[in-house]
Symmetry: C3
Subunit: 151 residues, 3 copies
């Protein structure tokens, strides 16, 4: 086993790569909140009475444009959080650094594309399905590798 | 203190156990997405216009069978993500390895049972409530232990 | 670089601080579930047929008081989980311990205030918006610092 893996240290390139992509995925997820606020204001579909009172708008829980962004955000929570937790475990299976970096990069690109085709410009299916599937398969692969390594 | 705990290393059996149950819980959560897709197709309750256009179905946001799986998935996000984050902190309180492993195992079984009685076969309450409670108490115990150790 | 940062060890005060605030934030999030249960019982707005059968109540998915707590809980998942994942990466950028502790403390207070003004006593806006913004800016700052350190 790679001696770098004896403990979690910055000399491990897989761990550095994990930290780097963590930051990008976090920033991408934070953008979802801004997209939601934008759609709430553009479509006058606010979430609570105190928001409506403050901004002089109306409450609406069923606006398609707002709910679409919220679904995208929820899908990020289902996908990106799981990826970050599984990838942390996967680091300890001692993967080839170039391969691990490639998986992290591909996941990150797939999730950015997911947001683009779902919440920036609406692209017909199967665009969103494929972007989601790439991230799903990478997370599943890492989970199975971790299970196998530590069972 | 156990010298293994001076840094995060694979020689620490609690940490190995954490990585192992992480992978199982991740795979269990990934299953929720497949269960949601299955219910959307079975009940012709798709989530967006582009999905309806692609599959030739109809959009519906209020189908009980679909929403039931989505509630289960959301409950996983509320419970399992919190467990994984708290358990990571709890590792550093230097628990007895056999005891920590038992907590992780029990949490994992409780969450699998939660999915079974909520989203596979619907079992009358208090089945789901009890499955949820076991996971909740374990997470709370670990959070309080961590708080006490590092306050 | 601080030699403590060569690996993840308890001698690193930033890491100890992270573990401590993890436990408080986890306990705060767990409280949201109790607040939801309380509103479901107070307003007789249960979530499923088996709950209604067990408790002798009615199913309702659109009660404002229940949904308000669920939105607060969801906002915690969007904010606190992201903070915990980003803060873990931020530890490795070797921040000044006093500064990191201040950021973690401020985030924790802001999120507790968010719950108070949203789900305990309803305070007019911009109270909730400001509480949310403080946590958002801290998370964004840490994500950008991490990106810069490991790009």
């Amino acid at each position: 086993m790679d001696p770098h893996l004896k403990s979690l240290i910055l000399e491990n390139p897989v761990f550095r790569s994990y930290l780097f992509y963590s930051s990008i995925l976090a920033l991408k997820m934070m953008l979802m909140t801004l997209l939601t606020i934008r759609q709430r204001l553009l479509n006058n579909a606010l979430v609570s009475q105190e928001d409506a009172a403050f901004l002089g708008g109306t409450v609406c829980w069923t606006n398609e444009k707002v709910e679409r962004v919220r679904r995208g955000h929820r899908n990020d929570m289902e996908s990106i959080y799981l990826f970050l937790l599984v990838a942390f475990a996967y680091i300890w299976t001692d993967p080839e650094p170039v391969w691990a970096d490639y998986l992290f990069l591909t996941f990150t690109i797939a999730r950015i594309l997911h947001t683009v085709v779902y919440n920036v410009i609406v692209v017909p299916q199967p665009a969103r399905g494929l972007a989601w599937l790439v991230g799903y398969l990478i997370t599943g692969y890492m989970a199975i590798k971790t299970y196998t390594a530590f069972k």
